[in-house]
C-alpha cells in the first residue's frame, strides 16, 4: 500500500515539465545557496566595479580608469605583472611537467616519498616562504656567510633581491599546482592511445608531443591559470625582495595607506582590473576546455616502466635537487623560529623557545582566532558547498552553468581584490551596523575563498555514486533527505571530509583578504605573521609560520590518507 502511493507520487513528479524528479524540490530549497553567492560574491564584485567608475559624489566617471591607463608607472607595473605571471607559468610548467611525467610513467627509488613531498611546497604560508629564502639565501644568509667566511668571497651573491628572486620563490612555491593537475589529467590517458601512436612510429619525445601533451591540456590549462593568477596577485613576495612595480604590490600599498584618496582609488581600480582579468582568463580557459574535453570514464592506465642505468639515477637526482630547493624556506623558517639573535653566522649560535612562548602566552589570540574562524569557515563551506555539488551533479537546473562558473571564478579571484571588494561593499551600515565591524566577516570571507575545494571534492565523489542507488531508495519510498542521509552520505562522506580539510588547510594560510579586513582583536596567524614582520620581529613571524606549516603538513597527511592519489582534482 505504502509503496504504491510512493510510486504514484514519483510518477506524478515525472509527469511535470522537469526531466528529473529531484529538480522540483531543489528549485526553491536551494534558493538560500543562490542568495549566499549573490550577497558574498556578486554584490562585492559589482560594488567595487561601480566604485572604480564613480567619483566621490557618486557620478559616473572614467577619470580613475583613464588615469590608470595613462600613468606610465601603472602601465609598467601592468606589463611587469603580466611578464612575471607568464614567466612563472613557464618555469612551473617545466618543473611540473617533468615531475608529473616521471611520477606517472616510471618506477624509481624513493618514488613514494618524492610523490608525497612534491605537494608539500604549496602549503607554505604567504610571506613566511620568502622570509625563509632570505634566511638561507639572503645577503647575510647561510649560503653567503659560508661563501664569505670560508671561500674568501668579498661580496655576497644576490640570489633573492630583485626579479629573479620573485621568480625563484614563486616557481618553487607554485610548481606543485601544475604537477597535481597534470597527475590528474595525464593519469587518465588510456594506454591504448599511446600504443596506437607507437604502432605508427610515434615514439619517445614525438609521442609526448603527439599524444601526451594534447591529452593533458585540460588539466594543464587550469593549473597554469591558477599559477598565473597566484603569481599575479601575490604582493608579499615582491615587497620583501624589494620589487615594487607590480600591480598587486601597488594595490596593497595603495589600499593600506588611507591618506591619499587618489592612491586609494587607484588601489580600487587595480582590484577591479585583477577581477576582470581572472574573469577573462576563465572564459578563455572554459572555451578551450569545452572544445577539448577528452575525459573518459573508463581507461586503463599506462604501464609504468622501471628506470635503469642513467635514468634510474637522474630521475631521483632531479627530485632531490628540486625538493632541496623547494624546502629551503622550511629550513630557514625553522632555524629562525628557534635560533636566538641569529646574525651573520651560517646557522644560529644559540637556540631558544622564547619566540614560541611569546606568541603562545602573550598573543594567544592569533592561534585562537585562526582555529575559530577557519573552523567556522569550514562549516559554512560544507553547508553551502555540498548542496552546490549536489545541484551540479544531480539536477539539470538551467543555472548550473552559472553556478559552476561562479565556483571556478572564486578559485581564480585574487584575495587582495576580494578583500578590497568586501571593504567597499560591506562598509555601508544595514540596520545601523555594517558587516565590516562584525568579526563574522572573517570566517565568511574565508569560507567564500575556499568554497571551491569543498565543492570540487564533493562533486567528484558524487559523480562516482551511481544515481541508480538513489533511485532504488526512492522507489521504496524514501524521501529526498532520507535518500541523501541513508544512501548518498555514507558513500561520499570521505569526499566531503577531504574537501573540508583542504578548505581548512588553505584557509589557515589565507592572508590577502583577511589582512585587509582584520581589525584589532580579529587577527589570525597569517595577519600576525605580517604584524610581527612589519614591526621587525622576524623570529616571532617565523615561529607562527612554523606552527602553520606543522598544521598544514598534518592536514596534508590526513588528506593524502583519505583521498589516495586524487589530489589533483582540488585545483582543477
Amino acid at each position: 500500500m505504502k509503496a504504491s502511493t510512493a510510486r504514484a507520487g514519483i510518477d506524478k513528479r515525472f509527469s511535470g515539465n522537469w526531466e528529473n524528479p529531484i529538480l522540483r524540490w531543489n528549485g526553491w530549497r536551494v534558493l538560500p545557496i543562490y542568495i549566499f553567492l549573490a550577497v558574498f560574491v556578486i554584490v562585492p564584485i559589482i560594488k567595487i566595479a561601480l566604485d572604480a567608475f564613480t567619483d566621490t559624489q557618486g557620478i559616473l566617471t572614467f577619470k580613475y580608469v583613464k588615469s590608470f591607463f595613462t600613468d606610465p608607472f601603472y602601465l609598467r607595473a601592468l606589463r611587469n605583472s603580466m611578464l612575471l605571471g607568464l614567466a612563472v607559468v613557464v618555469t612551473t610548467s617545466i618543473l611540473g611537467f617533468c615531475s608529473a611525467y616521471f611520477l606517472l610513467r616510471y618506477e624509481f627509488a624513493g618514488k613514494k616519498l618524492f610523490s608525497y613531498l612534491t605537494i608539500f611546497p604549496i602549503i607554505m604560508p604567504p610571506l613566511v616562504g620568502v622570509m625563509g629564502f632570505i634566511f638561507i639565501l639572503g645577503r647575510a644568509g647561510t649560503v653567503n656567510t659560508i661563501l664569505m667566511d670560508y671561500f674568501g668571497f668579498l661580496r655576497p651573491l644576490n640570489f633573492v633581491y630583485g626579479w629573479h628572486g620573485v621568480l625563484l620563490v614563486e616557481t618553487l612555491h607554485l610548481f606543485p599546482l601544475i604537477t597535481m593537475n597534470l597527475l590528474d589529467s595525464m593519469g587518465k590517458i588510456d594506454a591504448s592511445l599511446e600504443e596506437a601512436a607507437e604502432s605508427v612510429g610515434s615514439v619517445g619525445l614525438r609521442k609526448i608531443k603527439d599524444i601526451t601533451f594534447p591529452l593533458s591540456t585540460p588539466g594543464y590549462v587550469t593549473g597554469a591559470l591558477l599559477v598565473f593568477m597566484w603569481a599575479f596577485a601575490d604582493f608579499a613576495t615582491p615587497l620583501v625582495v624589494g620589487v615594487q612595480d607590480l600591480l598587486a604590490a601597488q594595490a596593497y600599498l595603495n589600499i593600506v595607506q588611507f591618506v591619499d584618496r587618489r592612491l586609494f582609488q587607484m588601489g580600487i581600480v587595480i582590484g577591479v582590473f585583477m577581477i576582470s582579468l581572472s574573469i577573462i582568463f576563465l572564459i578563455i580557459a572554459r572555451r578551450y576546455l569545452a572544445l577539448k574535453d577528452y575525459a573518459t570514464l573508463s581507461y586503463s592506465p599506462v604501464e609504468k616502466k622501471t628506470l635503469k642505468g642513467w635514468g634510474g639515477f637522474l630521475v631521483p637526482f632531479f627530485f632531490t635537487v628540486l625538493l632541496i630547493m623547494a624546502f629551503i624556506p622550511y629550513l630557514g623558517v625553522t632555524l629562525a623560529a628557534f635560533g636566538k639573535a641569529w646574525a651573520m653566522t651560517p646557522f644560529p649560535v644559540q637556540y631558544t623557545l622564547g619566540y614560541f612562548t611569546r606568541i603562545i602566552t602573550e598573543t594567544p589570540k592569533y592561534i585562537i582566532n585562526t582555529f575559530m574562524y577557519c573552523g567556522l569557515a569550514v562549516i559554512i563551506c560544507i553547508t553551502v558547498g555540498v548542496p552546490i555539488a549536489w545541484i551540479l551533479t544531480r539536477t539539470k537546473m538551467k543555472s548550473r552553468g552559472l553556478l559552476d562558473a561562479l565556483v571556478t571564478l572564486i578559485l581564480a579571484l585574487p584575495g587582495t581584490a576580494l578583500g578590497i571588494a568586501y571593504i567597499r561593499a560591506f562598509n555601508m551600515p544595514i540596520f545601523g551596523i555594517s558587516l565590516t565591524t562584525l568579526w563574522i566577516i572573517m570566517p565568511l570571507v574565508l569560507a567564500v575563498r575556499r568554497l571551491p575545494y569543498t565543492v570540487r571534492s564533493t562533486h567528484s565523489s558524487l559523480l562516482v555514486v551511481h544515481e541508480s542507488l538513489e533511485e532504488a531508495a526512492r522507489s521504496v519510498g524514501a524521501s529526498g533527505w532520507r535518500v541523501f542521509y541513508n544512501i548518498t552520505l555514507p558513500l561520499i562522506w570521505k569526499g566531503i571530509l577531504t574537501g573540508a580539510l583542504f578548505s581548512f588547510m588553505t584557509s589557515i594560510q589565507e592572508s590577502a583578504a583577511t589582512i585587509l579586513l582584520a581589525i584589532p582583536g580579529w587577527e589570525t596567524m597569517t595577519v600576525g605573521i605580517f604584524t610581527f614582520y612589519t614591526s621587525g620581529s622576524m623570529n616571532e613571524s617565523a615561529a607562527l609560520g612554523f606552527i602553520l606549516i606543522v598544521v598544514g603538513g598534518l592536514s596534508l597527511y590526513v588528506i593524502n590518507k583519505l583521498s589516495g592519489k586524487k589530489m589533483g582534482g582540488f585545483f582543477g
Binding site: R139, N158, V243, V259
Partner: protein, 375 residues
C-alpha cells in the same frame, strides 16, 4: 515614637540612596580599550600591560586591551574613514601635524588631564625652530621623546672597512654601496620626516642630489620602515634610517649587535596621543593617557630606549639594567632637556609639500633606482 522611627528610616534611606547615586556617578572606567598606533608592539604591549595592573588596582576593573598596528598615514586615514564612528579609542604616535589635522576635522576628543600633570610638560623643545610637544588647545599631548636617527651594525661595518656612523653624510660612503636599507617616504612617515630634514638642511635641489647618492648606495627599498632595523640587525644591510622604539632597541635586547645614533638636526617626535572622537571607551582612554604621564607610565619608555617627555625624570637604572643599556645604545643620552636640542624641522612646510616630496621621490629616486645604482 513610631514617627521618630519612620523619620530615621527615611533619613537612612535618603543617605543610602544619595550615596548610591554618588557611587554610580563616579567615573569608573569601561572594561575595554582599543588602540590604533604606529608605535611598536614592544612599547605598546608593555604600556598596556602596566595600565591593566594600574586599572585593576585603582578601579578594580579588569580592562581588555588590544592594539592595531599600522603606519601613521594608515592610522590617520582610518580615523578619517571612520568619521566619528571609530573602531578604536586612542590614536597614539607619529607626527603632531596629523593630530592637528584630526582636531581641525573634529575627530578628536578634548583631553581631561589634570592641570598638574599638564604643567609638567614643556610647551616645546628645540632651537632655532621650537617643536610643540603638547597641543595648546588640549586635543593631544606628547607621551615620550624619540629621535628619528640611524641604526647600524658595527660588526658588519668593520667587515666593510667603514668607521662608526655619526652624521647623515656618513651614509654616502662609497664602501656602503649595496648595504644601505631605505624605505620610501610615501610608505613611512618616519622616513618621510628624515628626508624632509635633509631637504630643509640642504635646500631642495642639493637635497635631491644627496638623496640620489644615497639611493646609489641602496640595494633595494624595503616594504615598511620597520624592516630597516631588523634587516640591519640580521646583517642583510649595514645602516639605515630608524626610530629606536620601532624595534631598534628591542633588537639589542633580543641579543643582536646594533647601535643607534641621532645625528644633529634629526627629527624628534613626542609620540602624540589623543582620544578619538566618538570612542566607545572614552573614560578608559582618558585614564590610559593620564597613566602614561605618571612616573610609572614614563618608566615604560625609559626602560625601552626612549626619553621622558618632562624634565622631571631622567633615564637612570641599576648598572646592567635595561635602562642603562638603553643609555649606552643611544650614545649616553639621558634626557633631551639636559642640553639644547638642535631642530630646524618646520612641520608646516613639511605638511604643505607632503605629496610633492612623495611624488618627487617616486619620480627622481624609485623610478630611476637601477640607473642611480650604476653611478
Amino acid at each position: 515614637m513610631s514617627r521618630k522611627i519612620i523619620g530615621l528610616v527615611f533619613c537612612f534611606l535618603l543617605v543610602v540612596s544619595s550615596l548610591m547615586t554618588v557611587f554610580a556617578a563616579q567615573p569608573a572606567i569601561e572594561n575595554e580599550l582599543v588602540l590604533i598606533t604606529p608605535v611598536s608592539k614592544f612599547i605598546v604591549d608593555a604600556a598596556l600591560e602596566k595600565f591593566k595592573g594600574y586599572a585593576q588596582e585603582r578601579w578594580g576593573v579588569s580592562v581588555k586591551v588590544s592594539a592595531s598596528h599600522d603606519g601613521t598615514p594608515t592610522c590617520y586615514g582610518k580615523i578619517v574613514e571612520w568619521n566619528g564612528r571609530p573602531q578604536a579609542d586612542i590614536f597614539w604616535g607619529g607626527e603632531s601635524a596629523l593630530f592637528d589635522e584630526l582636531a581641525k576635522k573634529n575627530l578628536l576628543e578634548k583631553l581631561q588631564l589634570s592641570e598638574e600633570l599638564m604643567s609638567l610638560i614643556p610647551a616645546e623643545i628645540g632651537e632655532p625652530k621650537p617643536l610643540p610637544i603638547k597641543d595648546p588647545n588640549g586635543y593631544w599631548v606628547g607621551s615620550t621623546l624619540e629621535p628619528y636617527g640611524l641604526i647600524y651594525n658595527p660588526k658588519l661595518l668593520k667587515r666593510l672597512g667603514v668607521d662608526e656612523i655619526k652624521t647623515w653624510d656618513d651614509l654616502l660612503n662609497p664602501k656602503l654601496k649595496g648595504w644601505v636599507a631605505q624605505c620610501t617616504p610615501d610608505r613611512s612617515s618616519s622616513s618621510h620626516a628624515s628626508y624632509e630634514v635633509i631637504l630643509q638642511l640642504l635646500g631642495w635641489e642639493k637635497a635631491w642630489e644627496w638623496t640620489e647618492k644615497l639611493a646609489a648606495n641602496t640595494a633595494n627599498f624595503s616594504a615598511r620602515s620597520r624592516d630597516v632595523p631588523s634587516t640591519v640587525a640580521k646583517g642583510e644591510a649595514a645602516v639605515g634610517f630608524a626610530v629606536p622604539s620601532y624595534m631598534a632597541f628591542e633588537e639589542v635586547l633580543a641579543g643582536y649587535e646594533v647601535k643607534y645614533v641621532a645625528p644633529d638636526y634629526c627629527f624628534i617626535t613626542c609620540e602624540p596621543i589623543a582620544v578619538i572622537a566618538g570612542a566607545k571607551n572614552s573614560r578608559t582612554a582618558q585614564a590610559f593617557i593620564e597613566f602614561l604621564q605618571m612616573e610609572e607610565g614614563q618608566r615604560v619608555f625609559m626602560e625601552r630606549g626612549l626619553f621622558p617627555i618632562t624634565p622631571r625624570y631622567r633615564v637612570f637604572g641599576a648598572p646592567g639594567s635595561t635602562a642603562e643599556r638603553a643609555v649606552e645604545f643611544t650614545g649616553g643620552v639621558r634626557s633631551f632637556f639636559d642640553k639644547p636640542t638642535k631642530n630646524i624641522y618646520d612641520s608646516e612646510l613639511a605638511q604643505e609639500r607632503y605629496s610633492e616630496v612623495n611624488e618627487t621621490f617616486r619620480k627622481r629616486i624609485v623610478e630611476r633606482h637601477n640607473e642611480l645604482k650604476k653611478k
